[in-house]
């Protein structure tokens, strides 16, 4: 800090107490260490947790890291992951949505019944199902933001009512099998280009190129505007890490059946949602409402609309997730979206690092969190553990994540960054 920095003359208004980051990779590591010490853990605990989980199960089973198993995990996370993505949106507002499991169930039931029993075009049936989910979210949003009923109760009512509607829609027969090779069936089973390896490589390279280009353009604009910009070395480092991860995943997928459609849709939706949250005015409004309703209102933000629209988004995502779950289990039934589906989705969002108190979190935490949960479930299945054990371990992981979050928040407060 006190060392000379001859290249950049410090502007007069800079507070002498503030930390200036050193140039280059050394400065990056320096800041990384400082952030860790002050409790800004980011997604580091989840990533470390994932590595530990993978290592343990690989050691126990010897086949956890096989290509076919990893491919299955990437397929299975899409359904619950989309519900978790919806949960993250609601958590960013500092609210909760207990109805998402039922919404997923109704959507799957409605689309399946329309397509299979009523003979409606399956694309249309899927569209109607998702629109119905969005409408259910609009109902929750209306009662919450316009009438002022606490979100917990509105969505609790929704959870009960929609699961009743799900029962009613399915009818006495109880189960609606997916159409053979239909739209819903293919959500889970289709591989891009029927398993052509080009697709996985193409997607990987596209992701790396987009990331690098975005970072470079941003750095150049900042430099041109005279603002501190990310040094090239750091961009290279970040891109390198991403490239290794993405290319390894692509390689593993290609060892098996190629790039699964559910992975593409899930990651694509998370990426688009993340862009909306971080880079658009609407996303900024969501964070503002989550961080301070009064401030948001005085800034002219239509708080009621932001809340309602977020409930519509989360319900729409949950509905889409319900279709993936139906696709994976081969049918829509009365219990789809019931049981632990909702609680797992909330757990995934929190494990991934989204705060329950609003305004803090990333959409990617849904992906990371659901990866952790699915890895545990799959691994325990492979060692033939009982379901009871699975629940207990999942509970312990959730508790650990929340404890870590609380401790890191306390550290952040004491280092002035709460």
């Amino acid at each position: 800090m006190s060392t000379e920095t001859p290249t950049t003359p410090t502007p007069p208004a800079v507070d002498p107490r503030l930390l200036v980051r050193k140039e280059g990779v050394a400065g990056y590591l320096d800041e990384f260490g400082r952030k860790l010490r002050s409790g800004e853990l980011g997604s580091l605990p989840v990533v470390v947790g994932l590595i530990i989980i993978a290592a343990i199960f690989q050691w126990k089973t010897g086949s956890f890291l096989n290509a076919d198993n990893l491919t299955n995990i990437t397929k299975w996370i899409a359904g619950p992951g989309l519900i978790a993505t919806g949960v993250v949106f609601v958590l960013l507002l500092g609210e909760i949505d207990l109805s998402l499991g039922s919404v997923a169930g109704v959507t799957a039931a409605l689309s399946s019944v329309l397509a299979v029993r009523q003979g409606v075009n399956e694309w249309l049936a899927v569209l109607i199902g998702i629109l119905a989910a969005i409408a259910m979210g609009a109902v929750h949003g209306f009662f919450f933001s316009k009438i002022g009923v606490p979100a917990l109760l509105v969505t609790l009512a929704g959870m009960l009512a929609w699961s009743g509607l799900q029962d009613f829609t399915i009818g006495k027969l109880g189960t609606v099998n997916n159409l053979n090779d239909g739209v819903i069936a293919n959500l889970d089973t289709y591989f891009m280009g029927d398993g052509d390896i080009v697709w996985a490589w193409l997607a990987a390279i596209l992701a790396i190129a987009l990331f690098a280009a975005g970072q470079l353009i941003d750095a150049r604009r900042r430099a041109a505007a005279g603002l501190p910009a990310r040094p090239i070395a750091e961009i290279a480092l970040r891109t390198g890490v991403l490239a290794v991860v993405v290319l390894v995943v692509a390689y593993m997928l290609n060892q098996d059946r190629g790039l699964p459609l559910p992975l593409v849709l899930f990651v694509g939706i998370v990426a688009i949602g993340d862009f909306v949250l971080r880079r658009t005015g609407y996303g900024r409004q969501i964070f503002a409402v989550g961080g301070g309703i009064e401030a948001a209102r005085r800034a002219g933000i239509n708080v009621a609309w932001v809340r309602t629209s977020v409930y519509m988004i989360s319900a729409g995502l949950a509905g889409f997730g319900g279709l993936f779950i139906a696709s994976q289990q081969g049918s829509a039934d009365k219990s789809l979206g019931g049981g632990n589906v909702l609680m797992s989705a909330i757990a995934a969002a929190v494990i991934g690092g989204t705060s329950l108190f609003g305004g803090r979190g990333k959409l990617w935490s849904a992906l990371l969190g659901i990866l952790v949960l699915q890895s545990i479930t799959t691994g325990l299945d492979m060692v033939h553990a009982q379901q009871a054990i699975q629940y207990m371990i999942t509970g312990a992981v959730l508790l650990a994540a929340v404890v870590l979050d609380s401790i890191s928040r306390r550290t952040q407060k004491s280092s002035g960054r709460g």
């Binding site: 502007p11 208004a13 800079v14 507070d15 107490r17 503030l18 930390l19 941003d218 604009r221 900042r222 505007a225 005279g226 603002l227 880079r279 658009t280 005015g281 900024r284 964070f287 503002a288 989550g290 961080g291 301070g292 009064e294 401030a295 948001a296 005085r298 800034a299 002219g300 933000i301 609003g358 305004g359 803090r360 002035g416 960054r417 709460g418």
Partner: protein, 259 residues
């Protein structure tokens, strides 16, 4: 003060049910002038400010903006005219960084997405011209001290290029050095040719930065003083109504009879 006032209130009254909150209040604010609005609790300072800010529309009287009468029916009208208000509860989003808060509700856009670079650049320029010291414009508000939050809130009011800034008790919860920083900032607003309405209970602050002191008592004007030529005691007695006693009333009566 020379020239026409930017903002003038003439005979403004405001009732809430049975309560006459403001009666026939006059107030003038010129460009480059700091008007301190003082008065005891319940004197109507907050109500007056809220009528200007558009929170409570006035019942009677005229509000003039640059010489022509205007209606301020809602906060948006006041903002559109160029009146920015910094309330006592600062209304900042703790989770957003300084840039995010400065531009909240009027983000700069580029191809439909947030133009963070332009916003950060303008934020730095704004903070530099006001000599505001903040550790980083990318730090969340939660990481700032009370004084820093106050100056960020004031800077936020300036993003829309207002002509009048209303500050509601800006130094109420601040320490000695932070109060000095905020007072410095008020002076810089005056140098930039803005009209400032400063609500304060602290006479030392008022004497330090204000040009004019407007005293409210029980919802009415109770004198307007040039700070330079008025003593502390005179202002205090106007606030407390110590001048309003049998002796002064007798003198006033004699003066009127003499006319």
């Amino acid at each position: 003060m020379t020239g026409a006032p930017v903002l003038a209130l003439r005979g403004v009254s405001k009732r809430f049910g049975a309560v006459q909150a403001l009666t026939d209040v006059q107030l003038e604010v010129h460009a480059g002038e700091v008007v301190a609005l003082v008065g005891d609790n319940g004197a109507g300072k907050s109500t007056l400010v809220k009528t200007i800010a558009g929170v409570h529309p006035i019942d009677e009287g005229v509000i003039e903006w640059e010489g022509r009468p205007v209606t301020i029916g809602r906060p948006h009208d006041a903002q559109a005219l160029g009146i920015a208000t910094v309330y006592q509860d600062l209304a900042l989003c703790d989770n957003l960084d300084v840039v995010g808060n400065l531009f909240l509700g009027r983000e700069l856009k580029r191809f439909g997405t947030l133009d963070e670079v332009a916003m950060e650049k303008r934020a730095r320029e704004l903070l530099d011209t006001l000599s505001i010291r903040i550790p980083s414009v990318r730090i969340p508000i939660a990481g700032l001290s009370g004084g820093q939050r106050q100056v960020v809130a004031i800077a936020r009011a300036l993003v829309g290029d207002p002509k009048i800034v209303i500050l509601d008790e800006p130094t109420a919860a601040l320490g000695v050095e932070q109060t000095a920083q905020v007072l410095d900032l008020v002076e810089r607003l005056r140098e930039r040719g803005l009209g400032v309405i400063l609500i304060s209970h602290n006479m030392a602050d008022v004497k330090a930065v204000a040009d004019t002191v407007a005293v409210l008592r029980l919802g009415r004007n109770n004198g307007s003083f040039e700070v330079a030529t008025t003593s502390h005691e005179e202002i205090i007695s106007a606030i407390t109504g110590a001048t309003d006693n049998a002796v002064t009333r007798r003198q006033a009566r004699i003066a009127e009879d003499a006319k």
